[in-house]
Symmetry: C2
Subunit: 170 residues, 2 copies
């Protein structure tokens, strides 16, 4: 995955946690590992497509998910209920939206966030995606953002990409 | 979710299993349930965006996943390895692609498939998505396709940004 894809997701995550949860994250070293990357118990996923396509996964532990929903709702949810799922889905959506705004040249559009829960989950991105895991620590617990993005050879829409264009004569 | 969204995913799933795995699926009654829908152990997920946005999840048991990869590769994978993940990711990608072709009026583009494994996984779609679960039975085991799609009022606009970031036009 291109290095330029990483920073928008880092700053988006920092911003969303700061603004939505009044929570400062501290970044840990990146994880680059294609197969069977472990996830925390609650993960928000959202698809991205445009002149590159991909998936963003925001993964937190059970207690962090409940605490995040508690901060957003100003009342503590009763376990991993629908409110917690909506909170994690919304955080995922906002991180994807904020990163997309910084990756304008790829004309990204954002899918629908879904939230998966389960112990001992692992995620695998397709061959060629080389996903990056961006772990963070915070006072409400660890957060891991995983991003897999690949450039699309035939863009669906006229490409505004200024960087990596293939030699097309027109 | 609109009824017209369902049939493209049903026929796409039937076609992909028939063509790729020589496997005839028989359809079971639809499941309409927003919260905590259980999934099988191996699930391929892919995002869709366009004038509607959503997520497609193709979920199968461990043995079904291994058997599907075995049919595609003509050799039996040694457990839930990278080959199995790639096979399930590719099946998910093909189902989304075939359904997209039938939903041309929504100008869908398809994200990147990712595969999640884990026991006792559940999935939650956001409020307003009203996902549909389409279960199938087959000789290689049960398959469940879940689809959540919502129409977007303004296709390109970032729905997130609650003041944290705004797309700067320059």
């Amino acid at each position: 995955m291109k290095v330029e894809f990483i920073n928008p997701f880092v700053s988006a995550t920092l911003d969303v946690f700061r603004v939505m949860l009044s929570c400062e994250l501290s970044r840990e070293p990146l994880i680059v590992k294609r197969e069977h990357t472990p996830m925390h118990e609650v993960s928000g996923l959202i698809g991205l497509s445009g002149t590159c396509r991909g998936m963003v996964v925001v993964s937190v532990g059970r207690e962090t998910a409940i605490r995040a929903a508690e901060i957003m709702l100003s009342s503590r949810p009763d376990g991993l209920n629908a409110d917690v799922m909506d909170a994690i889905g919304e955080i995922t959506n906002m991180i994807a939206g904020a990163a997309k705004a910084q990756l304008e040249q790829y004309s990204l559009s954002v899918g629908l966030p879904t939230v998966i829960t389960g112990k001992c989950q692992t995620i695998t991105f397709p061959s060629g995606a080389y996903p990056i895991g961006i772990p963070f620590e915070s006072e409400i617990g660890p957060v891991c953002v995983q991003v897999g993005l690949v450039e699309v050879s035939e863009p669906a829409a006229p490409s505004a990409a200024n960087g990596s264009t293939s030699a097309e004569s027109n």
